[in-house]
């Protein structure tokens, strides 16, 4: 019994376990590398051999982990450099890092560290497989976004990783697509329009949506469910159907504003798009605010009234601060709905109101220019910055209110 425990917590068997498993990973990596160079089956065999040798060699002869790993990375990078230049060196270093980490991870039994001591081999396998699966899902979600970023620095006008780019040759990279974005009137008009339309539409949806949510949370309002369903409907009805309906509705409205009231064509255009986007944003605000109102204590409003505050003061001084998180996240959703929206604006807007998604859409259809990727990269960076700021502010306010120890 005691002997069995020692075997289980110690290092796994070298020939029975470490060598074949590391060899297996070497086989997969070798096959992938082989595909790149054009000799998949040779790569498969060589990879399995190198993996097996590393599995044995590192664990048996190089006890210093840091030395072993850096050595492997260096050798692999050197081989990559000789075969594929700077890009090959980078690829080699990545593969070397993966396989050397894996060799120690398997060989030293580190993979068992987080598993209870009584776990069977099957459970250990499942536990580690589960971790790898989570990692794979994460990669699956993030890679399409990451691929866009290097491509946006392409020196050519195509969505292609050129040989220069793969060699990490500076010639293959350029900022011209970013220059194109900042210097072309079309893109600047689209950026300006997006920055005008989205915030105003957000303000309208947040004000109307919050009021609607508060009203609908009162128990004495008749037909609450029916009203709620109608207000939420823009989110449920397929966008293309809303867009068609809005096109005819807002055309009539626009003709009236232009013809009978005498507003200018472009102002009317903005009004139409902003109203349409506000309608799309309202359901998000209603849903998030309704959710926060569930946790709102009604007796606070009665207490405020008892102390002589009128309903408006109560709303702004008591209720609003408490439901603010719901209002803000609803507002964020409404903003992103408007900022991302392409179908409705294509129908309702005219070219003078073209937004960033519209410009990206036609850019993709008519010219497939990497400028779209440059814009996408900028937008991703801005979104990350925004989310980080919001999260930091949230933590700060929690700390100030003493809700969290950090």
């Amino acid at each position: 019994m005691a002997e069995e425990l020692v075997v289980k917590t110690g290092r796994p068997g070298m020939m029975r376990f470490t060598v074949p498993v590391v060899g297996g990973l070497g086989l997969i990596l070798g096959f992938l590398t082989g595909n790149v160079v054009g000799a998949p089956w040779l790569g498969l065999i060589l990879g399995a051999l190198i993996g097996a040798v590393l599995g044995y060699g590192l664990n048996a002869m190089v006890p210093n982990k840091a030395l072993g790993r850096w050595g492997v990375i260096l050798v692999f990078a050197l081989v990559g450099m000789l075969t594929g230049g700077l890009g090959g060196a980078l690829g080699g270093a990545i593969i070397g890092a993966i396989i050397s980490w894996f060799a120690y991870w398997i060989g030293r039994g580190t993979y068992r560290d987080d598993v209870p001591i009584y776990a069977t081999p099957g459970q250990t396998l499942w536990w580690n497989f589960f971790l790898f699966l989570c990692g794979a899902i994460f990669i699956f979600l993030i890679t399409p976004i990451l691929v866009v970023m290097p491509l946006s620095f392409n020196a050519e006008n195509f969505f292609t990783f050129t040989p220069e780019m793969l060699r990490l040759d500076p010639e293959g990279y350029s900022l011209k697509h970013y220059r194109d974005f900042f210097q072309t009137d079309d893109w600047q008009l689209a950026l300006k329009n997006s920055l005008v339309i989205a915030p105003i539409a957000t303000i309208i949806s947040v004000s109307l949506g919050t009021l609607a949510a508060i009203g609908l949370s009162q128990s004495h309002v008749p037909g609450r469910r029916a009203i709620m369903a109608i207000l939420i409907s823009p989110m449920i009805v397929p966008l293309i159907i809303s867009a068609t309906g809005m096109f005819f509705f807002y055309s009539t409205l626009g003709n009236f504003l232009e013809g009978s009231i005498g507003m200018s064509k472009s102002l009317v255009g903005y009004i139409k798009v902003i109203l349409a986007h506000a309608v799309l944003g309202i359901p998000f605000v209603i849903i998030t605010v309704t959710a926060t109102l569930v946790g709102f204590d009604r007796s606070l409003t009665r207490a405020a009234a008892n102390m002589g505050a009128d309903p408006v003061t109560t709303f702004f001084r008591v209720q609003m601060p408490l439901i603010l998180p719901g209002v803000i996240s609803g507002g964020l959703f409404a903003f992103i709905t408007s900022f991302d929206e392409v179908v409705v604006v294509l129908f309702v807007g005219s070219a003078a109101q073209k937004t960033l998604p519209w410009q990206m859409f036609i850019g993709l259809r008519e010219q497939i220019s990497p400028t779209i990727l440059a814009v996408a990269t900028i937008l991703v960076v801005i979104s990350i910055a925004l989310l980080t700021t919001v999260e930091l502010l949230r933590r700060r306010s929690e700390r100030l209110r003493g809700l969290s120890p950090g």
Binding site: S251, K265, E366, Q367
Partner: protein, 370 residues
């Protein structure tokens, strides 16, 4: 209270901004075109010089020529025409004219006479294929291939039938997702004589024959719908040969240094030009007429050929075609009409496709879906 204040300030700012822009944009003109290199050539050759003469004019581009017919119909139904001038291919112009969505015009009244004094009507000649169509350029749908992707020892293709020869030229090819041009090429490569193609294509059996021929390469074909796709596909190496408009190929090869070869055989000539939508207010119509007169004069049409390899629609413009504005290369050898390129050509058969388009389109699409 703060929220109300913010709201009020924002509203006030919006109203003020609207009022200011209302003054600036009184001379607004929305031009619909195709985007890309082609729209850029129109910007450089027509719009920028026009704006220099009329600094108050503000031009907005709408890259919607692809769905111009559908959108104009919808705008007409809604009674809200937001476009002032629309660039369409001749076939669309004919349809729009028949439906009353495009304005008929009098060539000698609307358009300037040629530099050499010929009347506009004679200068454009047969290219005015519809009473509403103001011709601009002659372009062609033609093919290009990647020599480096051909198998070792294969001869460079010199005929459109290379598309159907998957043995000599293995790999994917890209063709436009519509029957026009593809049906003609299929019949031509199935041994039908060139001058009999439309007679054959008018019959059920002929249409089936063309589809059967296309069927032989269906698995090898990537179907494109926007002309920007084929250069992208070819640059990626996803296909070995592709059809697109000759100007797109010129832009990819000469301006962006891609290693493609042209395959001019059996290129199909077509026309592109302006139409003016019906139902414009008098102010807008006057502005558009003024612009069109300027943009279609002899010099302007010749200028456009500095930026893109499409042939000007006026006879008097042809001698003025010179060199590329930035690259300084002679444009004449890149024109589809150059004798070296035009050894074997088709001319888009407007009458045939006007009569048979819906029918053959339906067959083609259901064949594609099979």
């Amino acid at each position: 209270m703060k929220l109300i204040k913010t709201l009020m300030t924002t509203t006030a700012v919006t109203v003020v901004a609207g009022a200011v822009s209302a003054q600036e944009m009184a001379d607004d003109m929305t031009i619909v075109s195709w985007g890309g290199a082609y729209q850029n050539s129109q910007l450089k050759a027509y719009v920028e010089p026009y704006q220099e003469m009329n600094p108050d004019v503000n031009v907005v581009w709408d890259e919607s020529s692809n769905e111009a017919v559908a959108k104009l119909r919808a705008m007409n139904e809604a009674g809200n025409i937001t476009w002032d001038l629309v660039d369409v291919v001749a076939a669309d112009a004919i349809r729009l004219c028949d439906e009353g969505l495009a304005m008929e015009y009098e060539p000698d009244e609307l358009l300037a006479e040629g530099d050499d004094g010929t009347s506009a009507e004679d200068d454009f000649g047969d290219l005015i294929v519809s009473d509403c169509f103001i011709p601009q350029i002659v372009y062609s749908t033609t093919a290009a291939y990647r020599a480096d992707l051909l198998p070792d020892g294969a001869e460079a293709p010199d005929s459109i039938c290379a598309f159907f020869d998957t043995e000599t030229y293995p790999g994917k090819r890209a063709l436009e997702r519509r029957p026009i041009n593809n049906m003609e090429w299929a019949l031509l490569c199935d041994g039908v004589a060139k001058d009999e193609i439309y007679d054959v294509l008018a019959t059920e059996e002929g249409q089936q024959q063309a589809l059967d021929k296309l069927d032989t390469i269906k698995d090898e074909t990537v179907w494109w719908s926007a002309a920007a796709e084929p250069p992208q596909l070819l640059a990626d190496g996803e296909v070995v040969m592709a059809s697109s408009y000759n100007g797109r190929w010129f832009s990819a090869i000469e301006e962006q240094g891609q290693d493609f070869e042209m395959l001019w055989d059996a290129q199909v000539f077509d026309l592109d030009g302006w139409i003016i939508p019906t139902g414009l207010s008098e102010e807008r119509l006057a502005r558009v007429k003024d612009f069109v007169k300027f943009a279609t004069d002899t010099q302007r049409l010749a200028d456009q050929a500095k930026y893109i390899s499409y042939g000007p629609a006026r006879q008097s413009s042809a001698p003025l075609v010179g060199q590329h504005a930035e690259l300084g290369i002679d444009m004449a050898p890149h024109m589809p009409t150059d004798p070296e390129n035009a050894k074997n050509t088709f001319v888009y058969n407007y009458e045939f496709w006007a009569d048979y388009r819906d029918d053959i389109d339906a067959k083609f699409q259901s064949w594609l879906a099979q």
